[in-house]
């Protein structure tokens, strides 16, 4: 009976008695969630357009952030370094298309998956070779990212919002909105959706898959750069950072591998869920449940709704 009480009653009583703490926890979860969502978005974009589960997405994030910081360390001004990092991500997209995707076209999925594993290790080695293996700190100041915090006196207490987190949330939302507009309204966006629907038919109407792949990998690279900047600002920029990209896997399972809104909602659910779980239910198990709760949630989803919350709606004619 005590256990029942500790699981189902106490946490909720705490939430009600201290709404400011609840709001603080939800906010932190929201920021983590939106960053998970950005990583997951990279996976979804590539999966939809080329049918490849891109294992290298996490490393692309680290590599992009490392390029940015590394160039700055070598004396390149921050804004030029940012532009150069975008250019490097474009170069990477072209190289991957030429050297990996094009020769392996029409191979079984597992071969492409293994190829992205290869890309992962190549990027780790290449990144360490060029920029060194020691952790670096993100150049937030040079990029004019805000510092400090805002204290809101609400709900009978105070909620502290880090300005960096606010910036992360705003930029993430702008990127998502921008991507959605790009997909819905432009000629290339339409072609991307066409490729996601039917590769063969897209080829037959003259859409060049090679061109589309470059665009998609480049977009995923830019998303990776943005994510890398904000994750890097929260901890250090090092290859250890790629473990946060593993958190994108439960997000994908939750949201569905083919759905952009799914990636966003899934990211938020995982982010907020794990923060709430850690704060209110964590003490029951001695804490530290944040690192595995997401995978538990994903496991439950796999059992009951394997296509995810927003998995591709399959149109079937009868």
């Amino acid at each position: 009976m005590d256990l029942f009480h500790a699981i189902f009653v106490d946490p909720f009583a705490q939430m009600i008695s201290a709404p400011d703490l609840l709001a603080q926890t939800v906010w932190e979860g929201f920021v983590a969630g939106i960053l998970y969502a950005l990583i997951a978005l990279g996976f979804v974009l590539i999966y939809k357009a080329s049918g490849v589960f891109n294992f290298a997405q996490g490393i692309m994030m680290v590599f992009a952030a490392l390029t940015l910081v590394g160039l700055n360390e070598k004396g390149v001004p921050a804004w030029i370094a940012l532009a150069l990092s975008v250019a490097v991500m474009y170069g990477l997209a072209v190289a991957i298309e030429r050297l990996v995707l094009r020769p392996l076209v029409n191979q079984p999925d597992i071969i492409l998956l293994m190829a992205t594993l290869g890309i992962t290790y190549f990027l780790i080695g290449f990144g360490e070779l060029v920029f060194g293996g020691s952790p670096k700190s993100m150049i937030t100041k040079q990029l004019y990212l805000p510092e400090g915090a805002i204290n809101l006196h609400v709900l009978g207490g105070q909620v502290q919002l880090q300005k960096l987190d606010i910036a992360a949330a705003v930029i993430a939302m702008l990127m998502v909105a921008g991507l959605a507009l790009f997909f819905q309204k432009t000629r290339i966006g339409r072609a991307l959706r066409a490729v996601a629907d039917d590769h063969q038919a897209a080829l037959s109407v003259g859409i060049s898959l090679n061109q589309i792949w470059v665009i998609v990998w480049f977009t995923a690279g830019v998303v990776a750069l943005a994510t890398g900047i904000f994750w890097g600002a929260r901890s250090d920029v090092s290859f250890a950072l790629q473990v946060v990209s593993l958190k994108a896997l439960p997000v994908l399972i939750l949201g569905g591998l083919t759905s952009v809104p799914g990636a966003i909602v899934g990211g938020l659910i995982i982010g907020i869920g794990e923060k709430l779980g850690e704060f209110y239910w964590g003490p029951l198990l001695g804490g530290g449940i944040e690192s595995w709760l997401a995978y538990m949630i994903a496991l439950v989803f796999l059992l009951f709704r394997p296509q995810g919350l927003f998995g591709e709606k399959i149109i079937e004619r009868i």
Binding site: V105, N106, R187, R190, A191, R193, A194, A196, D197, D198, H199, Q200, A201, A202, L203, S204, V205, G206, I207, S208, K313, I315, R317
Partner: protein
């Protein structure tokens, strides 16, 4: 042999191998005259689709390859180009089974057909209107997702989408598949209209020999990767063997498969 300028497409003795092992086409030659409708007939697995895919260069995506022979479009060799290049030059394939983009609306489907064009939005909008003239039903359904439209509408959408690329030649694969006879007739009427008014040439792969020979001017019959017979549509329709093997109306009395004579004739036909 006609002069090259009169033919928009010439396929010269091509061989196609799938997966570097399965020889599917064993020397197919055919020509499509400018502004003509040519039918490519044959049973399942005869090689009709493979021939069309070889021409449109979609073969590569199916792990197939043209190992011998040449394909000329408007007098130039095109068998090493990408499908994208070929669409730019004016030859586009409408695939078997329609293959509309299910999650895109009908209008978006039509617009993807204009992907390779760079003559501006105004020209594309004008052509979209022209397509709606030919296919009034598509205009009614323009905002619905293509996956939820009927088979006939999807076939119209696929042909309209191909027309949006301003093609000179359309490779039309089994337009009658899975459609009611009335709708098939409607589709073929539209094909005829496009051919007469827009001057688009058609190479038409069909199992429905009857209707294909009524609309085409010339026909080729494929069997197990070879052209076994070709001729004017009218001549093919009255050919005794075609009538018996493809139209199912040959001879005066009913025949059974046990008939030795038929078997011998069929053997001679295949040899």
């Amino acid at each position: 042999m006609t002069t090259p300028s009169a033919n928009i497409l010439e396929v010269l003795n091509i061989e196609v191998v799938y997966n570097a092992i399965a020889l599917v086409l064993k020397g197919v030659s055919l020509t499509v005259p400018k502004g003509g409708i040519v039918a490519l007939l044959g049973a399942n697995g005869a090689g009709k689709t493979t021939t069309l895919r070889a021409i449109s260069n979609l073969l590569h995506a199916e792990r197939g390859e043209v190992t011998k022979g040449a394909i000329q479009f408007e007098g130039e060799r095109v068998d090493k180009l990408s499908p994208n290049d070929l669409v730019r030059r004016g030859a586009i394939q409408v695939m078997e089974g329609r293959h509309c983009f299910g999650h895109l609306t009908i209008e978006e489907n039509l617009l993807t057909g204009a992907f390779t064009r760079c003559d501006g939005r105004a020209a594309i909008a004008r052509d979209l209107d022209a397509i709606y003239q030919y296919f009034p039903r598509l205009k009614q359904r323009r905002t619905s997702q293509a996956g939820y439209t009927s088979g006939g509408e999807q076939q119209m959408c696929a042909i309209g989408r191909a027309m949006m690329s301003k093609p000179k030649l359309i490779l039309l694969d089994e337009p009658s598949m899975g459609l009611a006879p009335q709708v098939v007739e409607e589709i073929f009427e539209i094909v005829k209209g496009l051919n007469e008014r827009e001057g688009v040439s058609f190479l038409l792969a069909e199992q429905n020999t009857n209707i294909a020979l009524r609309y085409a001017r010339f026909g080729y019959i494929l069997e197990t990767g070879r052209v076994v017979l070709d001729g004017e549509a009218e001549a093919l329709r009255t050919n005794e063997d075609v009538r018996e093997f493809y139209l199912g109306v040959g001879g005066e009395n009913r025949r059974s498969f046990k008939t030795v004579k038929t078997y011998k004739r069929r053997k001679r036909w295949l040899a």
